[in-house]
């Protein structure tokens, strides 16, 4: 415990020194010749426009939220993929006994060599059944995600210029119903 603490302290001290020392040396050694260009905020070489404390467009948040939802759901694929991959490998009936017991260890997360010694070797038929069940499971899961995705898409939540699209559709509908022949400029502007 004290050993660990000592290591930790040493790490913190060394880290701080390694950061602070170059800064101190720089401060002592460098020339001080300020110009307006040097004093300005650095923004990838571009001239900075205005303050960075501004309100972001709410559409960023909508897209970010949708991204997170689908991203998290797709994260559930990873544990599935490891099991499914192992199961499909094991479903091959031409595997040698050694390879089969090694793959079984991997699939069941056992220490190497356990399956060879005990009866935890997965047979080809069982692995095939496991793989098929996995396909059905993930198909149902993915179908649910896709329905949600299709709904969001259809509702227009993915349209970046959503309000303009609906305004355009409304103006189209208005011009169609009003039958104004003498205002061609308006439809042109809208399109």
């Amino acid at each position: 415990m004290t050993d660990l603490l000592l290591h930790f302290l040493l790490f913190i001290i060394a880290g701080s020194v390694l950061v602070l020392a170059p800064m101190l040396i720089g401060k002592l050694v460098r020339p001080w010749l300020p110009t307006p260009e040097k004093q300005s905020v650095y923004e990838c070489g571009e001239p900075a426009i205005g303050s960075s404390y501004i309100q972001f467009d709410i559409r960023f948040y909508v897209v970010a939220l949708l991204f997170i939802i689908f991203d998290v759901e797709v994260a559930f694929f990873f544990p599935w993929a490891t099991v499914y991959g192992g199961a499909t490998q094991l479903a091959d009936s031409r595997l040698s006994d050694v390879a089969r017991s090694n793959l079984s260890d991997k699939l069941l997360n056992l220490a190497p060599g356990t399956s060879a010694a005990s009866d935890t070797v997965v047979s080809a038929a069982d692995a095939l059944y496991l793989a098929k069940t996995g396909v059905v499971d993930i198909a149902v899961f993915f179908a649910f995600i896709l329905v949600g995705f299709a709904y969001v898409w259809k509702r227009g939540d993915l349209d970046w210029v959503r309000s303009l699209v609906s305004e355009f559709q409304q103006s189209q509908a208005l011009t169609r119903t009003a039958v104004v022949a003498d205002q061609p400029a308006k439809t042109e502007m809208a399109s």
Binding site: Y129, L130, R155
Partner: protein, 563 residues
């Protein structure tokens, strides 16, 4: 267990078909959500309104749970129910057999079926109310019903939680949609504010609860709830539950944190701050949903958690049981008192009902604390009570809670429904604006009278028997520990106090003249809203006059849960 055995047993064998059979109603609700999205996606919601799709799905799920309830209660030999049993494919080794399913994550027993039945019934009534009151509109209906049904599925999971992870998942699944439902009236500033407060509170409470769960599971070495009690006595083998023992401190901290998360859902003091704001900002329908359904789900979780912890009467653990029971008792007394006192000065009807909800959560929590106290009692230490007598008293505590929840479903839904229906007429939820409404909408006002009197607990309404049963169980628990008599006294004083603020609403409705120029609220008896409120209020009366069948059923449910 080898992979072959798992496949034979879990996938091909008994576990999966049995689980799917028991889970049928929840699956039906999930498919309803999909159907709602499809209806909107293919733009057929103008011909096939989304509220009808939701109502149909909820009815199907209700029938599913109802058939399970009858099957579990009366066996497969009820002639009138045969068609329903066959339609849902119920079998003696599936629904007929009580026990865990989905490999022990959920449990199927009378308790969970009773709660799921209540929740499905409430969902049907809730959707019927939204059809009548017109919130949400037809363009946004699918969003609202998706949230409503999704939250209900979470509550149904909560009723059968058998694992600490399921407990957490259920709490989150019922909370997250309700945040969005509170904010559903997008244009209203107040709704957004209420939802933001609710979300921040909810996120904090969920984090605390998850940390508590990890402590409990870490100390006890298991997250499976049926094993918790045995693990508690193993962890304290030789020692006793005192706060000088570091393991006991960690466990107590974990339990406290889990209870804090549940207390947030139950809006117990001091975790109640979100409740009045959320209820005032949200539509009255959403308020009704939050005050009944999410309370029921959270109480199911609380009872399961407390029973899991106090499972075995190991004498060395008397300290745990007693401090848990007295802690819940203190929280209950404070909550009921605070709710009733704060309700006095309210001018907005929804805020008043929010504080009344807090007070009622306090009353119901008293039953749970009595249950914990009685279950933890040492039979030899209580004069005049045998071990069998203690068991019977524990059953009565749980029976009281179940009866209270059943009556509460109708009376609180009735009150919120009437608030929503009056709002649709006069565009106001202020008590001030209810003056003289009895002359214009007599049916709404009379039903409001029934619901509010039942909330007070006046005979011959359902609320009276519910309160009486809770008071009786508190009295019996007082024989184990005198503190329960203090709680009983506080509860009795509270009941008298609560009469005044409910009466203020009724006085405004019945005894004052309608001001000149006020918006008229003509709701005749022979209209859909009139019939709806009568339909919700009649059970309140019936449960007051005929208390027998429901309390019998509740007692039976309790007997099997506490076995």
């Amino acid at each position: 267990m080898s992979v072959n055995e798992i496949i034979e047993h879990a996938l091909k064998g008994e576990i999966l078909p049995r689980s799917v059979q028991i889970f049928g109603p929840e699956i039906a609700l999930c498919l309803t959500i999909l159907a709602l999205l499809f209806v909107r996606m293919f733009e057929i919601h103008r011909r096939l309104p989304t509220n009808l799709v939701a109502l149909l799905g909820a009815l199907i799920a209700f029938l599913g749970v109802f058939s399970q309830f009858m099957y579990v209660k009366g066996g497969s030999e009820i002639p009138a129910m045969m068609a329903l049993f066959q339609a849902w494919g119920l079998t003696p080794e599936g629904v007929g057999e009580v026990g865990p399913y989905f490999t022990g994550l959920l449990v199927h027993d009378q308790f969970s079926v009773f709660f799921r039945l209540g929740l499905c019934l409430f969902l049907v009534l809730m959707i019927a109310l939204t059809v009548l009151s017109g919130i949400p509109d037809s363009e946004d209906g699918q969003d609202f019903y998706t949230l409503l049904i999704g939250s209900s599925v979470g509550m149904m999971l909560a009723c059968g939680a058998n694992h600490l992870l399921t407990l957490f998942l259920a709490v989150e699944m019922m909370s997250v949609p309700s945040y969005a439902m509170v904010a559903f009236q997008k244009g209203r500033r107040q709704a957004s504010e209420a939802a933001l407060k609710y979300v921040i509170y909810g996120a904090g409470a969920a984090g605390v609860m998850l940390y508590g769960l990890s402590l409990v599971a870490g100390v006890l070495g298991t997250a499976s709830m049926p094993e918790l009690a045995a693990q508690v006595s193993t962890a304290f083998a030789g020692g006793s539950f005192v706060l000088t023992n570091p393991v006991a401190v960690t466990l107590a901290l974990g339990i406290l944190m889990v209870l804090a998360g549940l207390a947030f859902k139950l809006s117990l003091v001091p975790f109640h701050f979100w409740c009045p704001d959320a209820f005032e900002g949200a539509a009255a329908e959403v308020g009704g949903f939050l005050s009944v359904a999410s309370k029921a789900g959270a109480f199911a979780l609380l009872v399961r958690f407390c029973i899991a912890l106090t499972g075995n009467p190991d004498p060395s653990l008397a300290g745990l049981n007693l401090s848990l029971g007295i802690g819940l008792g203190v929280a209950a007394a404070v909550t009921a008192t605070f709710g009733n006192l704060a309700a006095y000065s309210q001018k907005n009807m929804k805020r008043l009902l929010a504080y009344s909800t807090i007070a009622h959560a306090g009353y119901m929590l008293m039953a749970v604390s009595a249950l914990v106290i009685i279950r933890g009692a040492n039979p030899s230490g209580v004069p005049g009570l045998t071990s069998a007598g203690l068991d019977a008293e524990a059953r009565r505590c749980l029976e009281a809670l179940l009866y209270y929840l059943a009556v509460y479903l109708f009376m609180n839904l009735g009150a919120f429904a009437i608030v929503a229906l009056i709002r649709n007429q006069i565009f106001s939820e202020e008590i001030e604006d209810y003056r003289g409404l009895a002359g214009e909408a007599p049916v709404l006002c009379v039903c409001m009278l029934i619901c509010l009197f039942s909330l007070v607990g006046l005979p011959p309404l359902g609320g009276f028997w519910a309160k009486l049963e809770i008071f009786a169980s508190l009295f019996q628990a007082g024989r184990v520990h005198w503190f329960m008599w203090v709680v009983l006294g506080i509860a009795a004083v509270n009941t008298v106090f609560s009469l005044f603020y409910y009466m203020r609403v009724l006085k405004s409705m019945f005894l004052t003249e309608r001001p000149v120029g006020a918006r008229s609220a003509l709701v005749p008896f022979r209209s859909a809203p009139g019939l709806y409120v009568v339909m919700v209020s009649v059970p309140v009366l019936l449960l007051g006059v005929l208390a027998g069948p429901l309390s019998q059923t509740a007692n039976n449910v309790a007997r099997i849960l506490l076995r």
